[in-house]
Structures are given as structure tokens and as C-alpha cells.
Symmetry: C2
Subunit: 529 residues, 2 copies
Amino acid sequence: MANEKEVSSGDGPSKNALKKAQKAEEKATKKAEHKSQNAAARGDVEQDGEDCAKDRYGNLPLNRSEEKRPVTHTLLGDVSSSLTNQTITVRARLHTSRGKGKQAFFVLRSQANTVQCVLAVGENVSKQMVKFVCNITKESIIDVEGKITATEQKVESCSIQDVELHTTKVFVVSAALPRLPLQIEDAMRPEEDDPEGLHIKVNQDTRLDNRILDLRTPTNQAIFRLEGGVCHLFREALRAKNFTEVMCPKLISAASEGGANVFGMKYFDKDAFLAQSPQLYKQMAIAADFGKVFTIGPIFRAENSNTHRHLTEFVGLDLEMAFTHHYHEAMNTIGDMFTEIFRGLRDNYADEIAAVNKQFPAEPFKFLDPPLVLEYKEGVAMLKEAGIEMDETEDLSTPNEKFLGRLIKAKYDTDFYVLDKFPLAVRPFYTMPDPSNPKWSNSYDMFMRGEEILSGAQRVHDADFLVERAKAHNIPIDTIQSYIDSFKYGCPPHAGGGIGLERVTMLYLGLDNIRKASMFPRDPKRLTP
Amino acid sequence: MANEKEVSSGDGPSKNALKKAQKAEEKATKKAEHKSQNAAARGDVEQDGEDCAKDRYGNLPLNRSEEKRPVTHTLLGDVSSSLTNQTITVRARLHTSRGKGKQAFFVLRSQANTVQCVLAVGENVSKQMVKFVCNITKESIIDVEGKITATEQKVESCSIQDVELHTTKVFVVSAALPRLPLQIEDAMRPEEDDPEGLHIKVNQDTRLDNRILDLRTPTNQAIFRLEGGVCHLFREALRAKNFTEVMCPKLISAASEGGANVFGMKYFDKDAFLAQSPQLYKQMAIAADFGKVFTIGPIFRAENSNTHRHLTEFVGLDLEMAFTHHYHEAMNTIGDMFTEIFRGLRDNYADEIAAVNKQFPAEPFKFLDPPLVLEYKEGVAMLKEAGIEMDETEDLSTPNEKFLGRLIKAKYDTDFYVLDKFPLAVRPFYTMPDPSNPKWSNSYDMFMRGEEILSGAQRVHDADFLVERAKAHNIPIDTIQSYIDSFKYGCPPHAGGGIGLERVTMLYLGLDNIRKASMFPRDPKRLTP
């Protein structure tokens, strides 16, 4: 009020004073609003009379860690019929709610779990309390105390189906705005499932623009838990084989894979680039005697392509290893690593896979142990037999790649396979040519559901031969001199490969777009959130 | 020869033809040289007579995976007296060699292991073979067959001391150039150990310029294996507590921590920046219900400071978690995680720690379980008591920080500790103020050997309060609008922290420079290799 007066009186308040006053006014108004809302919500109004439940609900003050006490909350994921008749407190989001006379039915959601709650006017529950709960905005975080009670019928709409919470207390921890930019129920609805013919879909840009809401769906909770699992299984498979984790710089002084598709920037008084792969660095780690290495980190590609499977920034799972006699020692190590990843996902992430399949149905991922390995020319022969016209040293087009995937699935019943001995002409200069036939190279790709997810090879580990190969590719030697120099002081024969994490997640789960497997995807048109 | 003729005859060869001819000539010369070298090396020269050992040594052709066969090589790390009298083949580097009449003594090195080999002229070993071995360049990779034989005296200069290899075959897999830009023996010499008064040191820039050689020292092999171990232990400690690993983008549309010290770049038709931390994204993961998350990835700081502990690109180990009542739930989780890391390093990386200490002696790292937690003002009081003049809400200067570390070590015998409740004024705008006293905040730093390695806090999880705090820090709201919006749809109270991986490695091992803990360090003056 004092401030309001300051604004209206006087005939020339400074700009600053004005601003200050406005701010204060906004604050005062907000405070007043908040108070009256709270009062209304809590039913502290005369006409409703004395509230017998007034200590059992309300808005908690902003948690600023005023009070240190033991955590006795139960996780929603731990709620089951084995706890029947126990009174527990859970913290979760208000997923949905509806009032029905003197009762409120509401659903709590925490990560992938949902449970039904019932609140009914009675000895300890007032009309005002029911009204308060019905007015809580969806997506608010609330603490709910209730008794776990067996349900007569399965609650089909919830993940927890055989018990519900008979609610005794409800406190709002963090309120959501009443208008949400997207509804979680819409975002989690299976695309095929539309019994009411409402065609309510959330399109991809709306999802990505409001990613923190979109990510709350059980599907997305599952996708990204599984993606974390891929990283874990990748590392564990390799650590068990004595690989060392290394860190490769992303700021580099020359474009690592040729000048195209590279992001450039100023670095103090120099020019720098963002690494398009850790290729040179993981090979340097081999030349530096680390023997077997892996590295996980961002990969940057300034490629202006807006496809279902390209990102400008993605996560690379890279590995490289010295071998003794033959690059198949490395290729088989990688193949077996994938088998371990697939087995680990199948065995330890069954709930996540099921959650994703509920919204995006897909065939279970099939794999063989050991993995199927075909030579490139065998793959081409299969395509030719099926009517595709192509030369055996021609690169696989995306449609041919996918078609070959279907042919292989039909013949071998596997969604994962290795193509070995790619045509030399379609591989980078540092790929070791096949010694017996100049058409081929000691290189391989690996595929999931007919899409490439790993590219790898034996590398040229001899400086002179590397220069020869670079010249054959018209690569100016001075731009890769330090790379070449790495092989002048003795380097063991080695091979490796690079994997796109998001592609593995996408293809394992049978998703249709790589953006579904990137928490905050980056493409030529998207740099936010 | 044909090509040579082409060059000398004719009176106007085209530029191309000339170039081609030169190339061919170079190749022919090289081939001839190679042949004669090989002949000389192998002793295929008449005056030395028939070579009884000619199939037992030589240069192997470049390995292009001609032959697939079982790997029967023994790892140098597995060589011990338990294998005495067995004949094995190892692949390793020629570390040093010297001829002595009809004998050659040479040392093989593989990662952190070294073993002595003896080759003596005899029934199966020719003079030519000894000569060949003496001429192999240091750092070449060789396959050596030999019988494991007990030594009479401990071989003090090798890591394997009680056995040596009585050599029967030697083949060069990959030869090193004869002139090395640095000697591994120099690079691995303890700085204090200079009995011959030669003062041969390898300075840091020489090391870093030739990092692939420098990294081969047992010290560096150990440092980076241990660093990989820090990542592993970090993840395992958090996974055991149900944290989910997430991936945060490095390309962002606005400078995340204010405009200073950020690398900018062109992103198609937009401007982009490199993330200075995953702060916003890990908090968004909390607002998106992931509950507890961690992320490992590069952190970019365009800070023009050339100190012993700053890098422009380093690896961040970041975590964030929702808590129920009090931010100490998170702080203690982090503290306990450090205890697990320290325990894991001590128990599983004893060899690596010993290897590093040999070159860079340091006191063993001490820690308490549970960790020591002091309030900031208690730390300041200790400094004041020791004669430092400072205000209790002033930030710790680097010398004071280190001095406090020594005071705490003396008083509590720990190299790790937590300072809680930092002055609000020295923390970022998103730090939750202490509710009971506006001087303080719900924030903490963690220290190793008196240097900060983690900064963390309870975050403001309410959009309105966040705006208020940003204004108090004079941060233009429009630059952080999407960050603020993240908290409008319900967000649990949460806290977290960020750790610099290289600092943890450096301080755990008591190294004097962070570049020693970064495989390919980046600072304002260094962007290569």
C-alpha cells in the first residue's frame, strides 16, 4: 500500500522508483491472491462451518529444508497387496481426479507407476477437504497419506490394480499451473488406441517443445531408463574383458573426418572444431599402449539432414582394441558385446520394454548367440536373388539396407547381424584394405532391425601406408599429419567401431524416430529446450 | 626402372606424369632400401655364412589380418615365477636393449609391466640374430618367444623381478622410428631421483606435444586406469541407489551459466553455445520425474586462465536428486558416494596408486566414514583462529582454501570434507537461500586435499521464487525463461552437485597439475594433439 501511494502521489517518480513500485505491487497482489486462494481451498470460510479435517490437508510452504527428519515415505513402486491395511505416505503427482458427490477419486503417478486413491467425507474427512483435493491442479506434486486397501475389481486404468489408497491426508508440495501445454494422458495414449474416435494426438514438436512434461509418460520413463541400461551393459561387457574407459576431447584443432559436416568455432585466438568422432583419440590411446579402450561421449555432425535417424548431436559408444593376429578378434568381441547387451536388456529391463510396447507395439528383438556374420557380398547376393539390381561393390542404399534386414530376418530369424568385408571404396581412408583382394576391406557394419548401428574396421596402423591411403582419397596430408605421426613410434594392429546410442535404443525398442530415444534431441531445426 | 626412364627421356613430361614418376621412384627406392636393410638385419649376407636361426627372427610384414589363428600369446602382466620353465610368446615394446659380446640383454615393456630378456649365441641363436635384436629401435612392438627362467638376483630395474625370458625367437610387429621425441625412461623417472646428476627431465609441453609416447609410462598407464576407475565407482555407487544415467546436450541455445566464459558458434542459421554445465538439463530431468539422475560428459569453459587446476574442457560427473524433507538427504548421498569411491580406489587400484607414487610421491589419501561435515562459518572460524583475517560471508580465496585443508587435516586427519551452508552472496542465483538466515544458503562444497572438487546445493524449485532470485542477481529473465518454465508444472524439492573428474584424479593421487590427469588436455594455449 505504501508503495501504491508512492506511485499515485508526487508528479514525477523516477523510472526506477516506478519499476520498484510496480514490482512491489505485483508482489502484494500475488500475496493477497495466494492467501484468498488458500483460504478458499482450505475451506476456511464461514459458510462451511468448522472444518474437522483442517490439519489433514493444505498447501505446504515452499520446501527450503526447514526440517530434518527421517524419510518414511513409501515409493509408489513398492506399493502392493502385501502392504494391505498399512497406512503409508507417498509423494507423487496428481495424475487425474474427479469429484463425485461427497467423494473424490484421484490417481497418483510416480514414474511408471499409477495407483487409485479414494477420499470420502466421513469422521476425519470434511466436505472442504474433498473440495480442496478436487481443486488440486493435475501434475502437482502431493504427499498423500492413506490406507492400502484391496479393491473388489481390478483397477484397469492403473499399473497398481489390486489395491487402492483410502486417503486420510493430502498436502500439496509443488503446485502445477492449471493449464498444461499438453496432457500426459494424451501423450501416453497408444497411437492405435482411439475407441472414442477423438483423434487426440500430441504431435512431436509439441512433445519436444514441452519435453519436461512429455518425459513424464510411463513410456518415456521406460525408454530413458533402458537407454541408461544400454550404456551400463556396454561398459560392463567391455570392463569384463579388461577394456579401459578413456575420455576423448571434443574440442579439436582440425576437422577429424574431413572438412564437411563439422561445426567450427573461435577458440581464443585460434579456430577450433567439434569432434565428429573420437576416432583419432581412441587410436592414439592404442598407440599409447592402453590395449583395449572404450569411450562414451557426444558426437557432433553439422549435417543438414532431417530424417528419422539423424541427429546433429548424439551419444557415441566407441571402442578400439589391439588384436594379435586378425581383426576378427575385435569384430567378435564387439559382436559378443552386443549379445550381452541384448541379453541384459531382455532379462533386466522387461518392465521397461513392456511399458514402451504398450504405447508403441513392436516385435520382441531377436538375436543369435554367437551373432550371425555374413560377408558383404553374401548380403548383396541375397538382395540380387530377391530382384534388386546392384553391383557387389556398391554401397547399400537405405531401402536396400532395410530390405536386406527383412530378408535376413526371414532366413535366419535374427534382428542383429554383422556384415563383414565391405567394399574398400565406400570406407574411410584409414580402413585396412583386404590383403587378398583390393575390392574389399577389413571392415564391418552391424545392424539392428535392418539399420546400421555400428561401423568398424581394422585401421591402417603403419604411417607410410596411411599416407598412401590418404593420398588415394585425395586427403591433404598436412591436415592429418599429427594423426599419421601417431603411428611412427610403433603401434599394434588394431580394430574397433563406433555405435550410436540413440539408434540402439530406437531400434531395440522398434521406435520410428530417433528423437524418441534422445532426451533433448538436436537436429538442424531444434536447439531447445 | 621403367618409371625412371620415363622421367629422364622425353623433353616435356606433363606435370602429372612427373609427379607420378617421382612417386614411383620414391616407392622403388624405399623398397630397395627396405630389402637391403632387411637383408643386413637378418644377416642374409655372405660373410656371416649360413644363418642357423634365420627362421627365428625378422621383420613381420604389416599385419593386414592375413591369417586367422588362436591367440596363444601370454600377457606380460601374467608372467610370474609360477610359469617357470614354460616357453611363452609375448607381444610388447622393446623398452631398452644392449649388446654385450655374443649376448643381448633387452627389456620388454607392456603397459605397467617390464621384464628382462636374454639372448645368447648358441645352438639355435646366431650372431646375426643377436645383431638383429640389438638393432631393433626402442619402442618397436615385437613378438618374443622365450623360456621363463628364474633369476639369481632380483632384476631391480624391472617390475617382474624374479624371472627373465631366455629368448628363442624375436619378430618385429611394428617398428618405431630410431629418433624418439622423448625417451620413455626419462619421462618415467622420479623427479627427485637423479643419482647421476644429469638433470634429464622431460618438460610438460614436450610431454603433451608427444602425448602418445608420454602416455606409455607406467605412471600414465596407472593414472588413466585409475581415472577410468573413478568413473566406474561413481556410477556404481549411484546405480546402487537407483540413480538413472541420463545424457545432456552440449549444444545449447543460450549461455547456461550467464554469458561469460562461454564458447559460441554458428549452428546452421542460428547461434549456439557449448554447455558450461549440465545444470539445467539434470534439473529438467528431475522436473520430468526421473527422481535421481547422474550424467558424465564434457564441460566447456572459455576461461582464459592458465593455472594448475583449470582446463577449458574437462569431464563433469554430475548428479541431481529429488529429496523428501531436507537437502542433507542429497548432501549425505554425495558424501557417502565419495566414501565409496575412495574405498574402491584404495582397495582395487593399489597397484596403480603405487605405480604413480613411484614417480610422484604422495601421502596416502585419508578419509572418514561418514565424511566430516563442517559449516562454512566453522571453517572460517578455524582460519580466523589461525590468524587469517576475513569476514565469515566472504568467499574462500584459493590460498585460504588450501590453508583450511591443512588445518582440517591436522585436526581431523582427513583429506576429504564437506563445507555446508555457504554464504548466499557467493552462490549462483538458483541456490536455495537458508530459510532461517538470509546470510546463508542451502549449499555445500566438497574438498580433497584442500581443493574444491564439488559444488552443490538445494536448487530453487519454484518458478516465482526463481524469478525473484534471478532479479536479485541482475539476470535478464528472458535469457532463462525456459529454465524458469520448467518449474511451473510441479517439481519436487531437489539438490545435487557437479564434480570435475580430472580434479578428483589429480587430488586423490596428489599430482601437482591437472594436465597430468587429462589424457589430451585443453587449455587456452593448447588444442592439440
